[in-house]
């Protein structure tokens, strides 16, 4: 690897790192959530480029497909569905925190700079992982239990989100309110109606 190549890689890293940082600030400074979502999409895409530079093409691909594709579409859908107005971001609650925040910020920056400056590159590995084959081999041999656990987790997420986002039917609400009123009035609630109300 000659010097010009090294310079090119460094410039590429700095360009996409700067893009990611600017877009990340964009997320927290925008008033309108849809602009924040666009900022997050830019961060995810520039991180995908950095993953490619780290010889992780599979991770870069699923970063684009799953994160920038599926998850962010979900976010944008919810923002548009709820028709969110731009709100004031900073409230009076942060009145006192404003004065102690810079101190902690400088402390944190110092800490990060201290530890990052001590990091040294390990000796170059014999073989660079990242191909789909090597990932599949690891996932279906030594890490098959976390993989199956993730599938159970996603199943629970599907059921949970359907249950939470479901709009309750009008008659169900009336029945639940009736059962609650009967219970409060001290009347013995019939078991059958109680079960129906909970169903």
């Amino acid at each position: 690897m000659d010097l010009t190549q090294i310079q090119g890689v460094h410039v590429l890293f700095l360009a996409f790192a700067a893009l990611a940082v600017v877009a990340a600030f964009n997320i927290i400074l925008q008033r309108n959530p849809i602009y924040s979502a666009i900022g997050l999409i830019v961060v995810l895409c520039s991180l995908a480029v950095l993953f490619l530079m780290l010889y992780a093409p599979f991770i870069a691909a699923i970063q684009i497909i799953v994160y920038a594709g599926a998850i962010m579409v979900l976010f944008v859908f919810v923002i548009m569905l709820l028709n969110v107005r731009a709100e004031d971001a900073i409230t009076d609650r942060l009145k006192y925190l404003k004065f102690i925040a810079p101190v902690f910020f400088l402390l944190l920056v110092g800490q990060i700079a201290f530890f990052v400056s001590r990091v040294q590159n390990p000796p170059p590995p014999a073989k660079i992982p990242g191909s789909v084959e090597s990932i599949a081999e690891g996932m279906f041999t030594s890490y098959v239990v976390p993989f199956e656990a993730a599938s159970v987790l996603i199943l629970m997420a599907i059921v949970g989100s359907m249950l939470l986002a479901k709009r309750e039917k009008e008659e169900d609400i009336v029945r639940i309110e009736q059962a609650l009123a009967e219970a409060q009035a001290g009347e013995p609630v019939i078991e059958e109606s109680n079960e129906e109300a909970h169903a």
Partner: protein, 100 residues
């Protein structure tokens, strides 16, 4: 080759921006995006370590993190929808009680 410390520094910066967002923002959807940003910052560290140590485990961990993030986003956004339906607001300061 780009040194490992650069990747770690970028990861730390992105994570910090995510934390600042969680502390400063009051919109629950943007708060959620900041959590996703923090997860991604950690993912960058994992992939960088995976490449520099020549071990594929870091990338497997990133895969699991992405699955968890997807599940979290689905359930979290469902909670946000039902919160908005019940309270007509997305401000987290106004939704600090479990009961209506």
């Amino acid at each position: 080759m780009v040194p490992l410390s650069w990747y770690l520094a970028l990861s730390a910066v992105l994570f910090t921006i995510g934390v600042i967002g969680v502390l400063v923002q009051r919109n629950v959807i943007v708060l959620f995006m900041c959590i996703e940003l923090m997860l991604n910052a950690v993912n960058l560290s994992f992939v960088a370590f995976s490449r520099f140590f020549g071990d594929v485990t870091g990338q497997l961990f990133v895969f699991i993190v992405m699955a968890v993030a997807a599940a979290e986003a689905a359930v979290g956004l469902a909670i946000i929808i039902s919160l908005f339906r019940n309270r007509e607001t997305l401000n987290v300061d106004e939704a600090d009680l479990l009961k209506l």
